[in-house]
């Protein structure tokens, strides 16, 4: 019996039937190994998944710093997503930063009974009076769709009344099967109402947008630092430290870089169709991966000066971190890891761990789709189910005025052989044989995987962290970086290496077992038997 079978044997037949297709052990002999993903969680299972609202407001919309985000619903949802995701932001010059604030309609029973639209409009009037924002976003929580409040209509009326931008997101928590539905709904809203509404053209020779980078712990800033050093102009970031002010010009950039494939691939694809902007899958987690991504970007632009500058910056950045990396490698080489995160980081961090001499033996996603595991070529074969059908798929057409091919078709085809242009090969292909891959991982499977495979460290979220740690395995949060970071890029890799070393080698591990459990403390004199 392999580890997968031993893990699943705990389940009763009906749960086994569901979970067996979400757990695989990587077998290099099997071409295109398949996994089931993006389906309903079994009720009662202690899943790590969140909801649609968390994906829309918490992940994608929340970080937009100059947008006043109103959570329309009872108080909890807005409260829990207040300052807890570590998407750092600094106001643009003369601009506003709403990231430290939590705004909610704090719906009461009478609003549920009689409808909450009036309260929402009043809340918007008060927000205009106090803050005068240039953009308001409304994020709906569970009751809104059920009582029939029309946040889209409120958004339209708000735009007319105040001459500002206002976008309503119908991201009720029950929609879809995880945060992923919320990402999609957020992507649709940004595409429909914001991208393409500005006209400020970039001035540098090469300009890019950074997609799916949320600036957790300052990750986005570290990436921007290096990109700017090479000479790129970053038009906008989706959405860490991002803003309405810059996002409206996103369609004027030369190229889209995609970090978190899961949460933002819809925007990348739609911008390609509507504006002709290619997208490139990048990974700035790990210095090896960062160097590779920078080289891929340079290849796309095919400018000898840019290529030379790219190499110059890479070698300088690598030289700066060399000594520290070597030290940490000496501590970490040969160690194994498990990683359970949301939708793309489980793949990204395997590259960084490998840079440090570590191998990932357990990997899971909370809300990924099959393409995140197996590569985008499986997309046409993914069957729609009732839950995914409920999430709108936007169909966009080339914009008659703004569509502009950045490359010729032949050029693009040639490049595709060398760089991940408009494509993503998924996570499974980078993993070694025998490694465990788990979709929508849950508490039991986490404990079992650790027991069976015994990784030296486990990366997950706060809900898992103390379970894992109490069980004796070092544990670091890879959603929030345990309030440290940045972990991205070259300098970030050193921060990460230091934190992993700390987690494994911290002196407290030596004290877990009290000395009296391993050494006899009772002293006595043998008196013998006299008779």
């Amino acid at each position: 019996m392999n580890e997968r079978e031993r893990m699943l044997e705990k389940y009763a037949a009906r749960v086994y039937k569901n979970r067996k297709d979400h757990v695989i052990q990587v077998d290099p002999a099997v071409e295109n190994q398949s996994i089931t993903a993006n389906t309903r969680t079994v009720p009662g299972i202690i899943t790590n998944r969140g909801c649609c609202y968390a994906g829309c407001k918490g992940v994608v919309v929340g970080p937009l710093k100059d947008c006043l985000v109103i959570t329309h619903g009872p108080i909890g949802c807005g409260y829990y997503s207040w300052g807890t995701r570590r998407n750092k932001a600094v106001a643009n010059e003369g601009g506003q930063n709403y990231v430290p604030y939590c705004m909610s309609t704090d719906m009461q029973e009478s609003d549920i009974v009689f409808g909450g639209e009036k309260k929402l409009e009043k809340a918007i009037a008060e927000a205009m009076d106090i803050f005068n924002p240039s953009c308001i976003m409304i994020c709906s929580t569970c009751p809104i769709g059920l009582i029939g409040d029309d946040v889209q209509a409120v958004a339209r009326r708000t735009e007319e009344k105040y001459c500002i931008k206002c976008v309503g997101f119908s991201c009720e928590g029950y929609k879809g099967v995880s945060q992923s539905a919320g990402h999609h709904i957020a992507n649709n809203g940004l595409m429909k109402y914001i991208i393409g509404t500005g006209d400020k053209r970039p001035t540098a020779k090469h300009s890019i947008n950074l997609l799916g980078e949320y600036n957790i712990g300052g990750d986005g800033w570290e990436q921007e630092r290096v990109l700017k050093r090479i000479g790129y102009e970053v038009v906008t970031v989706f959405t860490g430290n991002g803003s309405y002010e810059t996002m409206k010009n996103a369609h004027l950039a030369d190229l889209n870089l995609v970090m978190c494939h899961r949460s933002i691939n819809y925007v990348a694809e739609m911008m390609k169709t509507k504006y002709g902007i290619d997208w490139l899958k990048v990974n700035f987690i790990g210095f090896g991966a960062s160097a590779q991504s920078l080289r891929d970007i340079a290849k796309y632009f095919n400018d000898p000066e840019l290529t030379a500058r790219t190499e110059e910056v890479i070698s300088d950045e690598l030289a700066q971190i060399f000594e520290e990396v070597e030290f940490y490698k000496s501590k970490l080489k040969g160690k194994t890891a498990g990683i359970f995160v949301g939708g793309s980081r489980t793949h990204h961090y395997q590259e960084l761990l490998r840079d440090l001499g570590m191998e990932t033996v357990i990997a899971g996603y909370e809300f990924a789709h099959r393409d995140d595991y197996e590569g985008r070529e499986v997309i046409p074969s993914i069957k729609e189910d009732a839950d995914s059908k409920n999430i709108e798929t936007l169909t966009v057409q080339p914009d008659p005025e703004l569509f502009q091919e950045r490359l010729g078709e032949q050029e693009r085809e040639a490049l595709r052989k060398e760089i991940p242009l408009d494509s993503y090969d998924g996570m499974i292909r980078v993993m070694q044989g025998g490694s465990m891959v788990i979709d929508d991982y849950n508490h039991v499977e986490t404990e079992m995987a650790i027991k069976l495979i015994k990784p030296d460290i486990f990366f997950s979220g706060i809900k898992d962290k103390y379970i894992i740690q109490k069980g004796g395995t070092p544990s670091r949060q890879i959603h929030s970086y345990d309030y440290a970071g940045p972990y991205a890029g070259f300098r970030g890799a050193v921060n990460f290496a230091r934190d992993v070393t700390m987690a494994i080698y911290t002196s407290a591990w030596a004290y877990v077992t009290p000395p009296w459990k391993s050494t006899p403390v009772l002293e006595g004199v043998y008196t013998g038997g006299a008779s």
Binding site: G50, S104, D106, Q108, I112, K122, K470
Partner: protein, 454 residues
Amino acid sequence: MLDLTPKEIHPRTALRVNPCKTCQPVGALYAALGVHKCMPHSHGSQGCVSYHRTFLSRHFKEPAMASTSSFTEGASVFGGGSNVKTAVRNVFDIYDPDIIAIHTTCLSETIGDDLNAYIGDMDIPEGKLVVHTNTPSYVGSHINGFFNMMMGFINYLTKKTGVSNGKTAIFPGFVNPGDMREMKRTASLLGVPITMFPDTSGVMDAPMTGKFEMYPNGGTTLPEIQGLGDCDSLLAMGHITSVEPAELLKKKFKVPFKLLPLPIGVEATDQFVMELSKISKQEVPYELEEQRGQLIDIMLDSQAYTYQKSVAIFGDPDTVVGLTALCLELGMIPKYVITGTPKEEFTRLVEALFAKHGVEGCVAKANADLFELHQWIKNDPVDLLLGTSYGKQIAKAEEIPFVRAGFPILDRYVHSYLPMVGYIGAIRMIEHITNVLMDTDDRLCADEDLEVVL
């Protein structure tokens, strides 16, 4: 920090900004964690429980285990009956608790799911139990959720055999495990056999042993909850948090109760101690009297550093009432005292304290938020801020010394292990308050004014 908060106060009735409360279900979840071998279960979409577990783990730095009905759009339209029945079966199968405590969410409340009926239809394994409570997120706050869950347990489980068990029940209020431990220690010193319900000590402050326990040693046991009806008396701590479950126990089982403030500060602790002494008819032991004497000694020694210092206090209603009393005992002026929980009783309780101590010009407000508090401070500042983690934004913006107390504290360690209640809790709070105030003086004073001895 909070650069967009204007000094000018605009009237608001619809827009809540920077709340000082959260929703019912997280309180229900916390209460259920205080029952031994209980799995809290959230009947709603899975995001709710994900947020609540996250939130509790961030406060306690401990696992917070709970399951969910994982609603999808279909369940939201057709009702969550099938989801909760499947969930309960799976939870018993996989996690093997003795009891599942279901609380509802705004989703299941809005669609009108009838948990009584669902539970009636369930196949519950022999010897196992399922209870529930209604916790609509659009009513009250997490404090309501906490006491509603208590009432759920009492309604389902508590019995009266007619034979007294000789015990006193203590409802501790929405407090930390460290506070519960101190209340239990006090009762034990006074020789009062008690049932504390709920009791998260041993659960949300469980030790590191190298083995994860899904159900740690702590928590009120099922026989103890069943036996609440046979208790001789009840001490209900916190006028707002504990009154409803206390009235329920009285109404159903004729258990008389004494409603007391949380034992924060000298007088409230004295009251608690004397009630216990009355019950056991034992004299207050020297150990407690000594600690009380130490507290008064410290108050006299350090009075110069708290006297007439103005303070803004915010958080959960009963905690804030307790902290206000303590600050008044220290000679401080509690200029702004707020809670987010919409209970007007709070204002009455705090104003009574103002009157008792003869302070004027102080404001108490329920159903308030931190944005409003910040604006008051911008117009007329205070010397100290006392409350939960989100206060750090205001503290930074206005450069005000800040002491953390209450729930949630997401950004510091140890706080949940040690008490704020009792004489020792007051000593601990005085240490925090004077340290912060005196550190600030030391940092800001002119070189020639820096005193080595204070």
